[in-house]
Subunit: 338 residues, 2 copies
């Protein structure tokens, strides 16, 4: 903990009294808004933690695991959380969760909140903004306090820690190849989650499959209903697209819905494979063939890794668990030969 | 805080040394498993909080709101969380979340975890087990520490605090009446969430509508796919049911899916209204008419109530915010006259 700054040091740097620093950190109205901001920013930058908390830190186990997920609405993250919850409960750990809402700043806040809540370990999937900006300095705090950390799904090579992933690139390559094998001539890639590590991997896998088979590459970023309509009016016809790999579940459903409403037959006119095995894709008519990201298992594995560190069973170099995804064959694809 | 027990008192009651109590609470392996269990149970029963934490408590604001939801998989709770997150963020508060997994014990644990994490306020939707057993003693801890509490969706009259609800009974009554007005002769009520307060309210509303119109009452608890098949093989035919009000979204989707696969036409042969406005019902073909529980708004209102208490703007008696639900008319119901 040699890098932890004290109140005294903060007061020196800022040239104000210790009492001012303390009051500013406690949001006292005696201190001007500006000074409060300045003090807090410096404190954050230097990983200052309130004394009592810092003293408590790591003294004893709270048997609590802190989790940060980038978003709560996609069912994938709910399912991972469910896996984390179930497994942690079984091992006698509690779980507290923060949501970064895809924001770098909120991810930082979340880490600080969870550290001051004295969690024994952290499980995190990176915010989109964190990945886009490649900004990982806030993770220094985690290693300074020696808190075991596991990243899952959205990970980075910039952080040295245990990781749980599925082989996104390889799974996307296999799914794309399967679409071609089922008879598709022109396969496109759709994504509404661009600039995440998983999207990069999936797109790369798609491209690899096309390159291997000497097929043309068509990638589309879709955000709104209009994007779907536009696609079917122009590109779909112009490029004779008859197969689409979609990077997330909701986008796959919206795509199929637009296609069906336009009178297209699935999988006859258009075959679709999505990522993530959610209830929406399962129960949609036509039901969606998917690469199952094994959300529950990712949660379970992440807990096992972090608890092994917390309880000292793993001490050596970072472990990367790469889960093999499973392909779930449903109604949105034609028969695929092995 | 006069009810808070000290280490000394615990040691007296248990007739062991203070050091034993302390070690037991810190899970020291020097102490037998049994003694650890006994000490921890007694400590919990008496709302013992570790000293350092107790001292910190309420000393200063952490600008953090603690949330406990009963389950993470239903999209309703994800949406409420999203509302809570968004609003809290706007007001400069952080959010940490625990999941009770419908268990009374885990709800207790969650409250303890959040209190020791020094949250400024709590937002909770009760676990199914808590409601079934009518066991609310663990909420004494919350009032002892003077922590503002807001209950939402699954609430109880047994706890004196601010609440956010929708008028479930009235909305169910109106939806049932609407099904009759649209031409249905025999309307049934389906639920997979029996023994929750919301289910009781919705069922009561359904029954009231039937009673008012002198119609027969048919209520079904459904849990598995077989329940749906059985229903269509027997009751559906025997009772000539042509309208169903469903207490939750997934059950409504599974019901429609079974009906469609059996060759029934929706809404011609069977009209369906569900509760909760999720993406699954919205995008299903046939799209689902729903009573919108206004999940986001419930989250926003809960944050506003709790922050008003935290910041001292509300001081008087508990406030109950009863949101008016909106009916979203989609393809699963016939035209409903006003």
């Amino acid at each position: 903990m040699e890098n932890k700054v004290t109140l005294k040091e903060l007061s020196k740097i800022l040239n104000v009294s210790i009492s001012t620093v303390s009051k500013a950190l406690n949001d006292s109205s005696e201190i001007s808004h500006e000074t409060r901001q300045r003090v807090k920013e410096l404190a954050k930058l230097n990983n200052y933690l309130p004394n009592a908390m810092a003293q408590n830190l790591k003294k004893k186990s709270t048997r609590t695991i802190g989790v940060i997920i980038p978003a709560i609405l996609p069912q994938f993250f709910s399912k991972v959380l469910h896996g984390i919850e179930t497994r942690a409960n079984k091992l006698g750990y509690k779980v507290i969760v923060c949501i970064s809402n895809e924001s770098l700043e909120k991810e930082k806040d979340g880490i600080l909140t969870l550290i001051t809540s004295q969690v024994d370990g952290l499980i995190i999937s990176l915010a989109r903004e964190t990945q886009t900006m490649g900004s990982y300095d806030h993770f220094q705090m985690v290693s300074q306090y020696n808190i075991p950390l596991v990243l899952f799904d959205r990970v980075t090579s910039q952080i040295d820690c245990d990781k749980v992933i599925i082989q996104d690139r390889e799974e996307a390559r296999k799914a794309t190849a399967a679409l071609f094998r089922s008879g598709c001539k022109n396969v496109a890639y759709f994504s509404a989650i661009s600039h995440t590590s998983v999207d990069n991997e999936r797109k790369r896998g798609y491209e690899m499959a096309c390159e291997n088979l000497n097929k043309r590459i068509f990638t589309y970023t879709v955000e709104t209903n209009e994007d779907f309509d536009k696609f079917f009016q122009h590109e779909f016809i112009k490029r004779s697209i008859d197969g689409i790999l979609v990077a997330d579940e909701l986008t796959a459903i919206l795509l199929m819905k637009t296609a069906l409403k336009r009178g297209l037959q699935i999988p006859l006119d258009l075959s679709v494979i999505g990522f993530a095995n959610g209830t929406m894709g399962e129960h949609f008519i036509t039901s969606l063939s998917v690469v199952d990201q094994r959300a529950m298992d990712q949660g379970i594995q992440a807990v096992d890794l972090v608890v092994d560190r917390i309880e000292g069973r793993t001490k050596e170099d970072p472990v990367e668990v790469s889960l093999e995804a499973t392909f779930i064959y449903r109604e949105s694809t034609r028969l695929i030969s092995a």
